[in-house]
Symmetry: C2
Subunit: 221 residues, 2 copies
């Protein structure tokens, strides 16, 4: 066991280096990159499709979809009109910088303003890896329950923005918003949070406006 720690450090250091290279590629092309993480079924792909509908007159969007197997997500985002690259991890529980570096090579960066990377559905592993984006976003979901910040603290601690999806289900679920918010605040004080429903569209405009401003600031900053 004593030999394991240096190896892990080396992997993470190589990962961080490659993530910086990827971020530089995006910067040079004027592309803003976001990493979307969530549990299985929290609504990552649906949210990306709804975002695209609302951003299509302002921003050109490309998507890299990470999954263990299949191209279901990339098929959906491509069908929604976005250039899409599917990365299959072959059993791996997260994307790493090497995977997204390779994915970015397959994307025409001159044709997009915003690159959305959909990570593997998992609240643990993805939180440990910089994949070369500018913003880490977590999508929580009401039916997952209000205790998730307490149970998956590393994820909540390391994100820049929190989206809380499926607010349309609040009337049917025992979800203590106070308890949830308190957990988030302990781990990540002042975290920018947007409750919404990808299904009904309620609350999406606030996040869309905020994201447009962030992309514009990156392009002109």
């Amino acid at each position: 066991m004593t030999e394991q720690v240096p190896v892990v450090e080396k992997i993470l250091s190589a990962n961080d280096h490659l993530a910086s290279v990827t971020r530089k590629l995006l910067d040079d092309a004027g592309v803003f990159g976001i990493n979307i993480m969530a549990s299985p079924g929290a609504g990552k792909t649906s949210t990306i499709i709804e975002l695209a509908k609302r951003l299509k007159d302002d921003l050109r969007i490309g998507v890299i979809d990470g999954d263990v197997e299949t191209s279901i997500d990339a098929d959906r985002t491509r069908a929604a009109g976005m250039p899409s690259v599917q990365i299959n991890t072959g059993g791996g529980c997260h994307l790493d910088a090497n995977m997204t570096f390779n994915g970015v090579q397959q994307m025409d960066l001159s044709a997009i303003d915003l690159l959305i990377i959909e990570n593997v559905g998992n609240l643990i592993c993805p939180s440990y890896f910089d994949i070369g984006t500018h913003l880490n976003i977590l999508i929580a979901s009401i039916p997952e329950g209000d205790d998730k910040p307490y149970k998956y603290p590393n994820m909540y601690r390391n994100v820049d923005v929190l989206l809380v999806n499926k607010t349309d289900l609040l009337p049917y679920i025992d979800f203590r918003m106070d308890y949830f918010t308190q957990g988030v605040e302990i781990l990540n004080p002042g975290l920018m949070t947007f409750p919404y429903s990808a299904k009904t569209g309620e609350g999406m405009d606030a996040f869309v406006s905020w994201l447009k401003e962030r992309v514009a600031a990156h392009q002109h900053g």
Copy 2:
């Protein structure tokens, strides 16, 4: 990379050996062990508590709760009257046989008939590890969506029983049961499946009866 495969094989082989030792310990004590896996928030702990209510006159139940951090789950199962051991993986995305072997040492096996091990909330990593139980159970959840068998095939392929929780939310969610069932059938033909709601109790009796028979067959078989 060429050196990695033998190392992984060695880890898995050591894991499988220790899992067999744990299973033998349970067998010798006449304890039936089940491994419950699911996404974050699919309702593992709630289901265990509801099972316990319905089994309390027939079986003595002990619980080992696996989580990345905190003892929230073990606190809940202990409060529900069951001897409980919390295992924290410290960032790890699944339980392994070494963890459950250690957990079993802390449980008085002569005082229980059924050991329920609640795995870490994750649809990927836990599916690769035998943790020394007799039965692998997956809890799917309606709000996760109907495409999960297709996206997490290794999990669906390797379980012995499928529970489908939160059927009370079916009226509010676009869940194509045919598409879901078809995916399950491709990966795991004839998989025993029980739809239910831990919240309303609907459908729980069928699984409870089935489980009681399995435990009885193990004790007298």
